[in-house]
């Protein structure tokens, strides 16, 4: 570990804290449906879209309609994607004459992009036609991110509104978020990336002569634009197979820092939006603080473990940290932080290979995801997931001060507890269930590359990444099989929508409730005590379930490494 490494981590956090309020305020305007400085430019586009589709943005929906419209929208996009992938051989923009995508892979990929997971069981350049890339996949980078943020808005409205039946208009939310948030941010970020040498061209490749005199064809493309939304929307599906480790995606340390910032940017801002929406920005800061504490602890462990390196190699006379699978231009701190950020935020972009991390260094990304992607989390999904934990925390804590529990002015009762537990239980059920199945059935056992606990970690990581809608791969697992394609597809779908439906039901239930002003008898949900309680609940309720699986995976792996045994 070095001073520069820690400085990077602290600077990163400091910049985020500075950006939280302006980002949050911008999104609050969208949440409220207020005009923004971009309205003179983009307003006509928005109204034109409504006129074209027959949507009345002022006609708000109750939670059921909101949920149905959201599902229909996503299901429609899923089917369209599946159809395009299955028929790409007969469709235009297929210069390399690629065949139709196999059913299991097409299903897996369609679900993956719809659910904001961007798990990729394929190598893009060898599988997807240009049409598939542009129409079938890239569009999801915007729609799945906008869906997540819209859902967070819906939940905020549940908390903020009093005795209301409606929680917003899904179409208006998605349109505004895409037009006034995702699009302009993507443009800005893409320009920044281009300035740093990231290619943005329609040319397929460039030929170069190497130092040795050999001729090499280097792939190019509209990288910068895709890179921007990949990170801002916590999508994570890279243009190149090497993702953000590739110099054309992430050329230098500065772009590396900005990439990490852009992964967290919207999710961090949304916590402020939440606070503002419920009338007290400090409520949002408290949530952000709890998230960042969990994040900082995790990041420190990764950095410490990666910097400490592998004692077996040290024994062989190779000192230093663990550089296996890392890019020299980012170093250990830049890679460790990136791994923590991308898994904390359900992004899944990588600038180093997590499989090559030390056992405990690789365990932190795993835990980040197993906690339900609530440590900052994906755009929208992070904050609504965290609020589910907040509901449980407030329930227990409220009882401890002798009051029936309330949070930001809403009583938390049996219905909210039931729905929150339901949403939270989905994760362990699917992650552990599917991992256990894959750990005993031959189809599953065929997947992992390594033996022993490391192989187990590979399976566990895949399902964790899928259910948590992260999409990062541990690598080492051969996932392009009907078993994994199918099961991971199902896992991603459940992990996204089986959390969303109970969450929206909570939003509806809360919106209908009376406002209960906080009195001296209700404990403040803004102070350090509350932040500590949130951290505790997330770890105990969200994390304790996974302890046996972690013990048999990365912990066993780590202990074996100490004893000189590698897998």
């Amino acid at each position: 570990m070095s001073l520069a490494g820690w400085a990077l981590i602290l600077v990163f956090i400091a910049i985020l804290l500075l950006l939280a309020k302006p980002m949050g305020a911008w999104m609050f305007a969208l949440y409220e449906g207020r005009r923004t400085p971009l309205h003179p430019l983009l307003g006509p586009v928005e109204t034109g879209f409504y006129r074209l589709s027959g949507v009345d943005p002022a006609a708000e929906q109750d939670w059921r309609r909101y949920a149905v419209h959201m599902i229909l929208f996503n299901l429609g996009l899923l089917l369209l994607t599946y159809l395009i992938l299955r028929t790409q051989a007969w469709l235009p923009f297929n210069p390399r004459g690629l065949p139709n995508v196999a059913p299991d892979l097409a299903f897996n990929t369609a679900v993956s992009f719809t659910t904001n997971t961007n798990w990729q069981s394929y190598a893009g350049e060898a599988t997807m036609s240009q049409l598939s890339q542009m129409v079938a996949l890239t569009v999801h980078n915007f729609t799945s991110a906008a869906t997540g943020i819209a859902l967070a808005f819906a939940l905020f409205r549940g908390f903020a509104r009093r005795e209301a039946a409606i929680i917003g208009n899904f179409w208006a939310d998605v349109t505004r978020i895409t037009l006034y948030l995702l699009l302009p941010l993507s443009v800005l970020f893409a320009v920044f990336l281009i300035a740093n040498g990231v290619p943005q061209t329609l040319a397929g490749s460039v030929d170069a002569t190497t130092v040795e005199g050999a001729r090499q064809s280097i792939a190019l493309g509209p990288v910068a634009s895709q890179e921007a939304i990949k990170l801002l929307g916590t999508n994570g599906g890279g243009f190149f197979n090497a993702n953000s480790a590739h110099p054309f995606e992430n050329p230098n340390a500065l772009t590396n820092l900005f990439q990490m910032l852009s992964i967290f940017l919207i999710a961090v801002g949304l916590t402020w939006t939440f606070g503002k929406a419920v009338g007290n920005p400090r409520q949002g800061w408290a949530i952000l603080a709890a998230m960042l504490i969990l994040f900082l602890v995790g990041t420190s462990v990764v950095y410490w473990q990666e910097a400490a390196g592998n004692p077996v190699l040290h024994g062989l006379g190779i000192p230093g940290g663990n550089m296996e699978g890392k890019e020299v231009r980012f170093g250990i701190a830049g890679s460790a932080l990136y791994a923590a950020v991308t898994t904390a935020a359900s992004c899944g972009a990588v600038n180093a290979m997590h499989d090559s991390f030390t056992a405990l260094g690789g365990m932190v990304p795993l835990i980040n995801m197993q906690l339900g992607e609530v440590v900052v989390g994906g755009v929208g999904a992070g904050v609504y997931g965290f609020l589910l934990f907040a509901i449980l925390a407030v329930f227990v804590a409220g009882l401890m001060v002798g009051r029936s529990p309330e949070y930001v002015g809403k009583k938390i009762e049996a219905r909210e507890v039931k729905l929150a537990v339901l949403a939270i239980a989905v994760l362990p059920l699917v992650i552990l269930g599917f991992t256990a199945l894959s750990a005993v059935l031959p189809a599953g056992l065929a997947g992992p590359l390594n033996k022993g606990p490391h192989g187990f970690s590979e399976i566990l990581y895949a399902f964790t990444s899928g259910v948590a809608n992260n999409g990062s791969a541990f690598a080492g697992l051969t996932a392009a099989t009907p078993w994994y394609d199918g099961l991971l597809g199902v896992a991603m779908w459940i992990g996204r929508f089986f959390v969303i439906i109970p969450m929206l039901a909570i939003a509806g239930s809360l919106a209908a409730k009376k406002y209960v002003p906080a009195g001296a008898g209700s404990f403040p949900t803004t102070g350090p005590l509350w932040i500590g309680l949130l951290v505790g609940i997330v770890l105990i309720v969200g994390g304790l379930t996974f302890l046996p699986s972690l013990a048999l995976g990365p912990i066993a792996d780590h202990l074996a490494m100490i004893r000189g045994q590698l897998f």
Binding site: G398, M400, G402, F523, L544, S549
Partner: protein
């Protein structure tokens, strides 16, 4: 009166143990899903043990099974002992009820027939004479009697029950000790107060309260999550090339699911109701007790709650050249026949302060009694008329007969009756000024008039009860706003409110104002508590979230409230709020404790079951438990024994301190959260040493 009872006595324990076994009935057990799961696991392991050995040794497995069953039994025992505390009381009540006989009126003259009380229908009329027990809840429609209500309230001093007014309600099982009354029965058979009380103390008709339901859902959710965590372990173990014996998985599951709080949950609820009963408050539902903990606004009647209720004379304010002595003498004369506390205090004050010598009225004195119409009282003696009363009442009386003589006097002074009506009476403005001053100081002015001449006013002062100020400060720390309700004018009300330290007041309050205030508070999301006894309080009692009716109150009030205070002590609302908070706090604290325990249990069991697969995992055995078997046994024993250890806490409740929500949370989180993390590490280690020492595993 608070009845105390020690927690564990033989006559409580023995039936409780029997009942603990009786409660193993699956139909009863299924109401508690976590304990039901434990029982199912215990049953399966018992069957497995009967079939054969799974490789861990029969002795070990038999111990495991035994401790699993004990876990379930400790849970049912906790509930049984909580119920047992109320049962003794219920039995004596039931005996009272069984013996009740009624003299049912036949509707012809004064004839009656003797029938069992259980035959009485609502609307029938019974005769109750000296020495009889009142056979059913009802209302006195004829007569006055003193009644001993000790059977219900535990208070042996008799109370007066009379037809009409606010003291007409009588309760079954109480004894008439003098006179005779006729009572119209108001309760249907089996639905009387006595029946409700029996059901309440026994916990027979106990329904889960909303908060209990929510907590149960959370516990079920945690059970499901841990069920998933344990059920997937065989798959993981298989991957590692080994297997985990079923008995060990069962032990892991039972230690992880929140058995501690689940076992104590219903005991906490029963004990909470029981505490109220011991406090001589009957809650009609557990929901009301929970609501008490959430109260934001407390409505308190001034008289009897904040002030002593009897106003005392503290000053004589003479006007218009009248000497204080003359005023004092007139006031004394007007009050000698006045037997009210106010009247007596005027007499006493006139004698002590102004040394008025008159001891009694002359024989020819004619008393003017207080009536609801005139609202004045006084005396006529030797051709002189003295009256006293509220300022407006006195002025009104002066302009009407029999005070026409004053009109004659004024006419002789050259004034017309028109002038009298139009102009002020001499000294009236000065009287107004004086009485306003009295009101502003929190007092009630009484005007005194002699032969039509305004002499001045008596300052009657409301005396604020000792210690109420401190209680309101305590309530403020609890986060509760107090509102004083009074019929006084705003000036008097404001002054008393300031003296007593209440947060707000409602002056000149009518029952409608009271109801409107409650509605307004509730509209703003506040929960409101109030107490009352009169029939006109009934709508407000029904509207309030917690309505405590005084036992001395009318039947209508007792029906409208959701609690009845048998001691009829309005200040008890404060304790009721504390009890409600205590109930919720006990639940929350034990839930936190139960969940926090899981960390240590993981550290005990995970290395025990996985070290065979990966020997390196033995380092997770931070407690240094001797063998895997001993580790598992110790964890399961700790998990079982913690239940009876916490029974006293569950029954007594976590102590509530009015120190504000933040510090309270910090305190409980420290004790039950951090304590819950640490305690099992210590406990399991100690049990492991004992298990090793005894050679159990």
């Amino acid at each position: 009166m608070v009845r105390s009872q020690s927690l564990f006595t033989a006559d409580l324990m023995i039936p409780a143990i029997g009942n603990a076994f009786r409660k193993l009935d699956p139909r009863a057990l299924v109401r508690n899903p976590v304990m039901f799961t434990t029982a199912v696991v215990a049953t399966l392991l018992t069957l497995l043990l009967a079939v054969g050995d799974s490789g861990l040794g029969r002795g070990f497995e038999a111990q495991l099974v035994a401790w699993l069953w004990l876990t379930v039994l400790f849970g049912t025992f906790a509930e049984a002992i909580a119920e047992g505390r109320g049962r003794a009381q219920a039995e004596s009540l039931r005996a009272t009820k069984a013996d009740l006989r009624a003299k049912r009126m036949l509707g012809v003259g004064e004839t009656w027939e003797l029938v069992p009380a259980g035959w009485l229908e609502a609307g029938e009329i019974v005769l109750v004479e000296t020495g009889d027990l009142i056979p059913g809840d009802g209302e006195v429609i004829e007569g006055v009697a003193s009644v001993n209500e000790a059977a219900i309230t535990g208070e042996s001093a008799p109370v007066i029950r009379e037809a009409g007014g606010d003291r007409s309600a009588v309760t079954a099982g109480t004894r008439v000790i003098s006179d005779r009354i006729k009572v119209r029965i108001t309760a249907q058979p089996g639905q009387g107060f006595l029946d409700r009380m029996i059901a309440l103390v026994e916990g027979a008709q106990r329904q889960k309260t909303p908060n209990e339901v929510a907590l149960t859902i959370l516990l079920v959710g945690l059970t499901i999550i841990f069920l998933i965590a344990v059920a997937t372990i065989p798959g993981f173990a298989a991957y590692a090339g080994g297997s985990v014996p079923v008995a060990m998985l069962a032990a892991l599951l039972i230690t992880l699911i929140p058995t501690t709080i689940a076992a104590l949950l219903s005991a906490i609820g029963i004990a909470g109701m029981d505490r109220l009963v011991r406090f001589n408050v009957l809650a009609k539902s557990g929901r009301a007790v929970e609501a008490a903990g959430d109260i934001d606004t407390l409505l308190l009647d001034k008289t009897g709650t904040i002030t002593i209720g009897d106003r005392q004379a503290t000053d004589f304010r003479a006007i218009g050249g009248t000497s204080a002595e003359a005023l004092a003498e007139a006031a004394l004369l007007a009050s000698l026949a006045d037997e009210t506390p106010e009247g007596r205090s005027i007499v006493a004050f006139a004698r002590e302060r102004h040394h008025v010598a008159t001891v009694e009225l002359p024989a020819d004195a004619e008393i003017i009694p207080f009536t609801a119409q005139t609202r004045i009282s006084g005396v006529k003696l030797g051709g002189s008329t003295i009256i006293k009363g509220a300022v407006d009442s006195v002025l009104k009386a002066l302009s009407q007969p029999p005070f026409v003589s004053s009109e004659v006097e004024s006419r002789s002074r050259g004034e017309t009756s028109l002038d009298v009506a139009r102009n002020e009476r001499p000294g009236e403005s000065e009287l107004r000024r004086v009485t306003d001053e009295i009101a502003r100081a929190g007092g009630t002015p009484l005007a005194v008039v002699r032969d039509g001449r305004l002499l001045g006013a008596v300052h009657l002062k409301d005396v604020v009860k000792a210690g109420v100020r401190e209680r309101f400060a305590e309530l403020r720390r609890m986060g509760i706003r107090t509102v004083m309700i009074t019929g006084d004018n705003p000036l008097t009300a404001a002054s008393i409110a300031a003296e007593a330290g209440v947060d707000d007041f409602l002056a000149q309050a009518t029952p409608e104002d009271k109801l409107a205030l409650i509605r307004r508070e509730q509209q703003g999301g506040k929960l409101v508590a109030m107490c009352g006894d009169g029939t006109n309080d009934a709508p407000a009692l029904a509207q309030a979230d917690v309505g405590v009716a005084m036992n001395t109150g009318t039947q209508a009030a007792r029906e409208a409230g959701n609690m009845v205070d048998l001691d009829s002590d309005p200040t008890k609302l404060i304790e009721i709020v504390g009890l409600g908070k205590q109930l919720l706090m006990t639940r929350g604290s034990l839930t936190t404790f139960s969940v926090a325990n899981d960390v240590a249990k993981y550290f005990a069991i995970i290395p025990a079951i996985f070290a065979a697969l990966y020997p390196g995992l033995a380092v997770l055995n931070v407690m240094g438990l001797t063998t895997p078997q001993s580790a598992i046994l110790s964890a399961i024993i700790f998990n079982a024994l913690i239940i009876p250890c916490l029974v006293p806490l569950a029954l007594k409740g976590v102590r509530y301190r009015p120190i504000g929500a933040g510090p309270l949370l910090a305190r409980n989180l420290g004790i039950y959260g951090v304590g819950g993390l640490i305690a099992p590490f210590v406990g399991i280690k100690l049990i492991d040493l004992a298990v090793g020492g005894l050679g159990l595993a």
